[in-house]
Symmetry: C2
Subunit: 292 residues, 2 copies
């Protein structure tokens, strides 16, 4: 039997920034919101603030009566839950969707779930510098792309239920296969993270001979190093599940950097300016079309 979201019990597994923001966005759109989190303090906070209706540290207890289960945990935790436990806890016709940042391994694991579970891989393209439920924001997903990747054996019902959920969050659904998603985020998200970390290591190395470098750091350093301050455990988790796609992006990047370096060291100022202007134009066009 199918229910609209408004009549459902929805379980959110993981009440960090992302899960907490989903809870806030769904607050008045579902019948009952269950929060599942290993941290008792997080659950107490979420209940006190009215972000969830009930909370539990026990995965099985939290998800067994839900018609929609949203996995908002780190990628490795999602993989572990999908591979080993959650399939046996869920009712038939439950929508199981995750929001992990890589999709190929998770969707492959979802493909082995019982056929009665409506599984869908998800990845909302948004975030915040601050993590944790106290940074949660009902509008975090509003107007942002939300990628949906169907596992093999996925059904039209799973798709429709996932689209309903994404729409309820105010996000813009984008459907694609998991491998394509992972290659795109390797370039747009994991590559810049590694560049940022390697850049900070470079400056750190320079600072060993000349500590003054830290004093001179201004806006250019700040912007390019910002991603290096991301949550390390979370990012290690993510990029470890996408190493092949990232290696490809790194190879493409090295070519582009080498082309710039050739123009620079050969003093080919016209070529250098042409290449830098192309990058400038692409960035400006993106900002005009996509930045709010």
């Amino acid at each position: 039997m199918s229910h609209s979201l408004r009549q459902q019990t929805v379980a959110i597994v993981g009440l960090g920034l992302m899960g907490g923001s989903i809870a806030l966005a769904l607050r008045d759109r579902v019948a009952h919101l269950v929060g599942v989190d290993p941290d008792q303090g997080t659950l107490a906070y979420a209940q006190k603030k009215g972000i969830i209706d009930s909370g539990t540290q026990d995965l099985k207890a939290g998800v067994k009566d839900a018609q929609t289960v949203i996995l908002a945990a780190p990628v490795q935790v999602i993989l572990d839950m999908v591979r080993s436990r959650i399939g046996s806890y869920l009712r038939a016709n439950t929508l199981l969707i995750d929001i992990g940042s890589t999709k190929a391994q998770i969707c492959a694991a979802m493909g082995s779930l019982p056929i009665s579970i409506l599984a869908m891989g998800g990845h909302p393209m948004c975030g915040k510098e601050r993590s944790g439920i106290d940074s949660a924001d009902a509008d975090l997903y509003r107007g942002r792309p939300f990628v949906l990747c169907a596992p093999r054996r996925s059904t039209p019902a799973a798709r429709l239920r996932a689209l309903e959920l994404v729409t309820a969050l105010g996000a813009v659904p984008i459907e694609m296969d998991a491998e394509r998603h992972d290659q795109l985020v390797a370039g747009i998200s994991h590559l810049p993270y590694l560049l940022s970390a390697a850049f900070v290591h470079t400056v750190e190395g320079e600072s060993e001979t000349d500590p003054m470098i830290w004093e001179l750091a201004a806006g250019g350093f700040r912007d390019t190093s910002r991603l290096a301050a991301s949550d390390v455990r979370m990012m290690t988790d993510i990029i470890s599940t996408n190493s092949a796609a990232i290696a490809r992006s790194l190879a493409l990047f090295r070519v582009q950097l080498a082309l710039l370096e050739v123009a620079l060291v050969s003093q080919d100022q016209a070529q250098l300016e042409t290449m830098l202007q192309a990058a400038h134009n692409a960035r400006v066009m993106w900002a005009e079309q996509h930045q709010t």
Copy 2:
């Protein structure tokens, strides 16, 4: 004869964001402010807004009566002025200071000026995303490092006059030799610019096979690509005068990126996390100590 800044005529050559901000900061601290700019509209704007007392498109007319001349033009224009013209226009005991982003070539050129000119290389470590005199800000330099690099044959008088000027801007003087400055800014400023441009080219290349990549771009892309939108002519000018130091920074960066890639593709998650944590910690410590 020496005057304090308050009794001086000060000429600012180049009324962009940086020169215009110097004018605003010095507005009530000098006897007379002359603006020199090739653009008549800029001069008219600066006079109408009371940013300068008088303006001219003629370099010689603008600087010949000044006791302090500040070159706030692009690096190549500064080099051209110092090498070919300005020495013969200035009075004895005039402080000539520039604010170009690289210092070795400019300070070398200053070393050939008449000995009666008090020459000093300068580089304020600040800026804004928007350029032009309409973005000028009296507080742009306040609390920011302002590097001073003495040319050969520099005198104590030049140093004291430059320190007085930097202090009047509210900036923090940092004295070092030009080669050291150029190596530091290669790492902290020119390297991230090239990384940003190469990153945008990489995404642009990916978009040729899959244009969807632009739709998925979020905060990570925004931060890491921001520098690529810098003024291209200005940046080409700057990095072309610092190619050896930048090549060294690029070589150091490649090593750091390769170390991260080795840990990633060999699935050495512990090593990867250790390296990423070190970058995280260095960035967080910098932000705590330096960001306002």
